[in-house]
């Protein structure tokens, strides 16, 4: 079962469209006209069959966006984006179908091999249409039946969630089916006016997930599992809203370890989490978007706003992220610790290689009494990349007894990369206790040689040392992903030494 399920997961996760279109009749393949205007916003809203209030919400955001300017404070450098030269809506297209595995780019095949994904799954992921006939080289058959399995597995999951009362659906559906809830919570953590990219997202978001876990319910499965099966192409402006009602618990995972490409260079997602009294949300991300080529050309710009609101007393929100992809990462998953005794956590591994630029960190905003937060950040810079941790820890006047612990460790590989730590710490309450530790180290030649003398290749040695460096954070990931993430980390650093 486990193996089948894994196959199924991967099938759905990466190349969902192809199969979706096998079962759904409505195929929309047109694009909105290039550029951004009120008409574009109306077009998107109409495509999504949205009620009038939603369109109004989007338009308001759009008008607000017109008055804003792109933020410049991050330590990232990219050519000016021409927002009128982009497409803001296109229906997802099925992947090009291939006749056999031999048509797959050998480089991509190699990556799959290193991630430990079996060939037959690769075939499904990469859209090879039919099993090869008899006489095909051994191990090169394609498990097309996985598709059918996935339907039944997904259905089982859906029933289980329904029984528990958990609502989990695309946000576009939730807008139609649960308008009160969406109205109440959408934009309540990241307001439409929040920042340039979040405002843009509010105007043109394509799709994303909506989760509601009712009071006292512990979501019966890692939503990651379900999510991997049901993820659809959400487009470049993803919008996610997760609500854990009183005493509820949910664990959610987005992204995947397999390499992802997208023709849209600009990605601006918004994720909002709301935890009521005694509720807990665990949100994990593995991000492996295309980082650009070896000369630093191309690659995804990933401008993400993620924020959790510990609205209730004793609530907890935990972010875990493994960031290995994208040309530019601009991302600060944060926690507003509003409820008394609430807790925020941020565990991060950010790896940059080649010409990648990462400016990432978190904000822990202590508002309630006896709120606690913990930040563990591991930045690894290789190649000619720049890797910045930027974090804010702040205690409001009323946040008596607030506590934070921060540990930022940076590891440099080679001498052409940079690691930077920019912590902002503000305590307006004298009873707050904030601790900050930071280290920067270089991967030592002696350590590498020691490993190599024991039989490891150069790349294996770097992978091992780096995985040791990030161990504390890896442990926070759901089991099923920890192993893949570990391999992904090694792969991301290939060619970084020697």
């Amino acid at each position: 079962m486990a193996a089948v399920q894994e196959t199924v997961d991967r099938v759905r996760r990466i190349d969902v469209d192809q199969y979706r279109y096998g079962f759904e009749t409505v195929i929309e393949s047109e694009k909105a006209p290039k550029g951004l205007s009120e008409d574009t916003v109306r077009y998107i809203s109409a495509k999504k069959n949205e009620p009038a209030w939603m369109l109004e919400w989007r338009l308001e955001a759009y008008r607000r966006w017109l008055t804003m300017t792109e933020p410049q404070w991050a330590r990232v450098d990219y050519p000016k984006i021409d927002y009128q030269d982009l497409y803001y809506y296109s229906a997802p297209k099925p992947k090009k179908q291939l006749a056999s595995l031999d048509e797959i780019d050998p480089e991509i095949l190699k990556t799959y091999e290193k991630l430990g994904i079996p060939l037959r799954e690769v075939a499904v992921l990469e859209g090879v249409v039919k099993p090869e006939g008899e006489g095909a080289p051994s191990g090169r058959r394609v498990a097309v039946d996985a598709v059918f399995d996935s339907v039944s597995v997904a259905t089982t999951f859906k029933e289980e969630l329904k029984k528990a009362g958990v609502i989990f659906m695309p946000i576009s559906e939730a807008i139609r089916e649960h308008p009160e809830m969406v109205k109440k919570y959408l934009g309540s953590v990241v307001p439409t006016s929040d920042n340039y990219f979040a405002t843009l997202n509010s105007a043109v978001f394509s799709d994303g997930s909506f989760v509601y876990v009712p009071p006292g319910v512990r979501c019966p499965m890692e939503l990651s599992t379900y999510f991997r099966i049901n993820e659809r192409n959400t487009g470049q402006f993803e919008r996610t809203l997760i609500i854990a009602d009183k005493g509820a618990y949910v664990s959610y995972l987005e992204g995947c370890t397999a390499p992802q490409r997208d023709e849209n260079q600009l990605h601006a997602a918004v994720v909002e989490l709301v935890a009521h009294d005694d509720a807990e949300i665990k949100y994990s991300t593995v991000q492996n978007w295309y980082p650009g080529n070896s000369e630093g050309v191309g690659g995804i710009y990933n401008f993400v706003t993620k924020r959790g609101d510990c609205r209730g007393n004793n609530s907890k929100i935990s972010w875990t992220q493994v960031e290995t992809g994208s040309a530019i990462t601009w991302k600060y998953p944060s926690c507003i610790l509003r409820g008394d005794n609430s807790r925020g956590e941020f565990y991060s591994i950010a790896i940059s290689n080649g010409f990648q630029q990462v400016d990432s960190g978190t904000k822990m905003i202590h508002l309630g009494k006896n709120t606690t937060s913990r930040i563990i950040s591991k930045g690894i810079a290789a190649g000619r990349s720049q890797n910045t941790y930027r974090g804010l820890v702040t205690a409001h006047r009323k946040a008596s007894g607030a506590r934070n612990f921060t540990a930022c460790d940076s590891l440099l590989i080679g001498d052409k990369c940079g690691a930077h730590t920019v912590p902002y710490i503000e305590a307006k309450n004298s009873s707050a206790t904030f601790e900050h530790e930071a280290t920067t180290s270089k991967i030592s030649e002696d350590v590498l040689f020691y490993c190599i003398q024991r039989g490891l290749s150069q790349e294996e040695a770097v992978g091992l040392v780096v995985n040791g460096f990030v161990k504390d954070v890896l442990q926070q990931l759901p089991m099923e992903f920890a192993v893949e993430a570990q391999k992904l980390i090694s792969i991301s650093l290939e060619g970084s030494v020697g």
Binding site: S444, C451, I452, R454, G455, L464, G468, F469
Partner: protein
């Protein structure tokens, strides 16, 4: 008796400075050779060059290992072929459990040799056996590689790896440095247990003391980048008496 290691007229430079000026050394399987000599005579350089550490430029001579050109092989290839260097200062690798490290390395070597990887139970059984014989507690294997290990523990960890990987050539670089007499005895006992007709050892040391525990078949004296004298185990005792100064003139 087959020559396991043949170093012929080896010349080595580090940053434009010649350290080894035509060193010749032959080690046969089953033998234990001690290399003695003062600081700066090139003992550690020799061990690093055999293991393939970057930063050394071989300007002349050759090294044959089991009849093959060792200098043509990458360092990890040499390890898989059976070259093991017990480091003078074993490094720490935080976050990597010793057990994980041992298994990763052993399987990497086996894979390179075209052998099957060890199954987890077989591997654990093997490690536990060896660890027990070296007086290495189980919880040490769960800790990060050499992290917080005492000098003695680090050296025992080197011997543990030697026992696990079963190399045909063991080079022990200043194994006695930083060890008290009890720690030295435990480590030396571990090494002696690995003496075998299929294996050779090269023991590099300043002091005769170590050679009381690991008794060599052949003793070489190095000075200024060459082997200046070779003899039986008594040569070490002789050196202890007279010191290295006499060889400075000879060199």
């Amino acid at each position: 008796m087959m020559s396991l290691l043949e170093v012929k007229n080896l010349q080595v430079r580090v940053e434009e400075r010649e350290i080894l000026h035509g060193l010749t050394l032959t080690v046969n399987t089953g033998e234990i050779h001690a290399i003695m000599g003062p600081n700066g005579s090139g003992k550690s350089t020799l061990s690093h060059v055999i293991a393939g550490k970057p930063g050394y430029e071989v300007t002349g001579g050759e090294i044959l290992f089991k009849g093959e050109d060792l200098l043509e092989m990458a360092p990890d290839e040499r390890a898989a072929k059976g070259v093991f260097l017990a480091f003078q200062y074993p490094v720490e690798i935080p976050g990597v459990a010793t057990m994980t490290f041992l298994r990763t390395a052993l399987n990497a070597q086996r894979k390179a040799r075209g052998e099957s990887e060890y199954s987890t139970p077989d591997f654990l059984k093997k490690v536990r056996e060896v660890a027990k014989s070296l007086n290495i507690p189980q919880d040490m294997l769960k800790r990060g590689v050499n992290v917080g290990f005492s000098g003695g523990e680090k050296k025992r960890n080197e011997v543990l790896q030697m026992a696990l990987f079963e190399p045909s050539l063991c080079i022990l670089d200043e194994m006695d440095s930083g060890l008290d007499i009890d720690a030295l005895r435990i480590a030396a006992d571990g090494v002696n247990a690995l003496r075998s007709p299929d294996r050779a050892m090269v023991v590099i040391t300043h002091y005769q003391r170590l050679l009381n525990y690991i008794v060599p078949d052949v003793v070489h004296v190095m000075s200024r980048g060459r082997v200046v004298k070779s003899g039986g185990k008594d040569l070490a005792l002789e050196l202890e008496e007279s010191g290295y100064a006499q060889f400075d003139d000879a060199a």
